[in-house]
Amino acid sequence: MTFLDVRDLHVHFPTDDGVVKAVDGLSFTVHRGRTLGIVGESGSGKSVTSLSVMGLHRRSAVRLSGEVLLDGTELLHADPEEVRRLRGRTMAMIFQDPLSAMHPLYTVGRQIVEAYRVHNPVSRKAARAHAIDLLARVGIPHPAKRVDDYPHQFSGGMRQRAMIAMALANDPQLLIADEPTTALDVTVQAQILDLIRDLQEEFHTAVVLITHDLGVVAEIADDILVMYAGRAVEYGAAETVFRKPEHPYTWGLLGSMPRLDRAVRDRLQPIKGTPPSLIRVPPGCAFHPRCPYNGRGGIPCATEVPSGTIACHLPHPERVRLAPTL
């Protein structure tokens, strides 16, 4: 059952140099209990997408169009106050760097209590008990003691757990995790991902996991959306995208991902070139200036991309033929 339905989302930022088309016609859906991984380089529009869903853009500074339906309710053009009430309760978010994402001058407990009490009229005492519960649930030892610590007194992993606890304060039905593990070392990464998965199973939450790291999504995502220059270039079941990726950019991403089953010399093959400016996105397929197969399909890549889940001018058989063996 579709819980989050994003349709033709455009997020444009007017600036002095021109309009930054951070997201330009993006559509996807997430079901309850399922996880969507959004993958792309920095600047591809992943985080902007999540902030749009959360309604965290200043409406005066951004031009939004399309639809964001949360459990059937349109959010993009809804009353900000209504969206605010959904934020933190129905949908919650976990941020990349928990040190900067938590207020340095308040205790962890107070920040969780605040998240809880803003949506639930309960006493401070009850909220505090709830906060200790939450800290316990995310695996923080001695939660009754640590609840009064400040963020800087926590280790990185503990902080991210606390951040998750804060996001879970109101049992959200949609959890957006924006690079939740980037700042953490590998062992802790795995623990945090396990935690998110466990919690998802427990509460049947819809999860959007945003990352530049395909390895992370591989472990956890049901569906994968690959973004490039504000658009989806490939969107499908995780299995399919990993096994039979069809977009040359996805090939490139997979090629630059460290894998254990490849020889060292082959390991890292970064995509040549740099991502385009979002003010002057190349026409047609935005990836074509960097694409090694530019024009190989016989159609100029600068023309409009054929619609479909794979935004590429190459004909399907050609893509299948060229796809690297993974």
Partner: protein, 332 residues
Amino acid sequence: MRRLVAAVLMLVVVSMVTFAIFFLVPRLAGATPEDLASRYAGRTADQQQIRELTEKLGFYDPLYVQYGRFAKGLVLGADYSTGPTTEHCPAPCFGYSFITHNPVWPDLVDRMQVTLSLALGAAVIWLVGGVAVGVLSALRRGTVFDRVAMATALAGVSLPIFFTGLLSLSVFSYTLHWFPPGGSFTPFTENPATWAYDLTLPWITLAFLYAAGYARLTRAGMLETMNEDFIRTARAKGLPERTVVVTHGLRATMTPVLTLFGLDLGLLLGGAVLTESTYSLPGIGKYAIDAVTNNDLPKVLGVTMLGACFIIVANLIVDVLYAVTDPRVRLG
């Protein structure tokens, strides 16, 4: 504790330096003890009379003896001749003026209430006003409000008190007659309403100068803070915007503001020299200016010591305050 000892030592050093400035430097510049004493004598006084006066004032004694006398007075008090009798200056004897013939300390205590009233009242106005304007300006960055507020703030920082003060006196006291003339002061204990009324103009003038700085500081701080990740987190929690701005944004901005506030207030308690002079308010600052004008060294010394005390104490308090407001800071 170590800080406390350091603070006391600092005071001793300040007293020595002040003493040296007024007693040693003139001597090094070639002034004789008689020259120092002749300031106290009328213009027809002859050498003999000046010599006697010099002796009475103790200017012939070596400097360390003179300083010792001052230090002893601080701790034990001292006695001074009034002619027919002697007057006791009880500890802490901050000195005894040979021009006005009275101990300095009671003067300072008396003047303190004026400076305290002036500084605290103005401080409340500028802190509240400056921070409010700064926050609004930051939130409405680039709007007409922001531009007008920041232009006014620039004016506030650049216009000297004796300009704004004279202007306000001229307009509001002497032309419109809304406020009392310069020099008006009623003790709070006597009549709080008159107290506030008398001080309204000086408060606003002084607060204007400081509020401007605080508005700019707050605005800059808020602009930075409101772009912080934790503000986004606060919004993501679904907190109302007011809570986001005040509880999260302003709270993080306030640490430097409060630090500055503590130091400013400490400095001001040592005498709001320009405001007090412009409005002829008999506070510590005016006292200091008058003492310097009259070459009344014991008063200058006393007032300098008091000012130093305030600044040192303010520094101590700010250090403590810093640790209280920011849990990441621990007192060393």
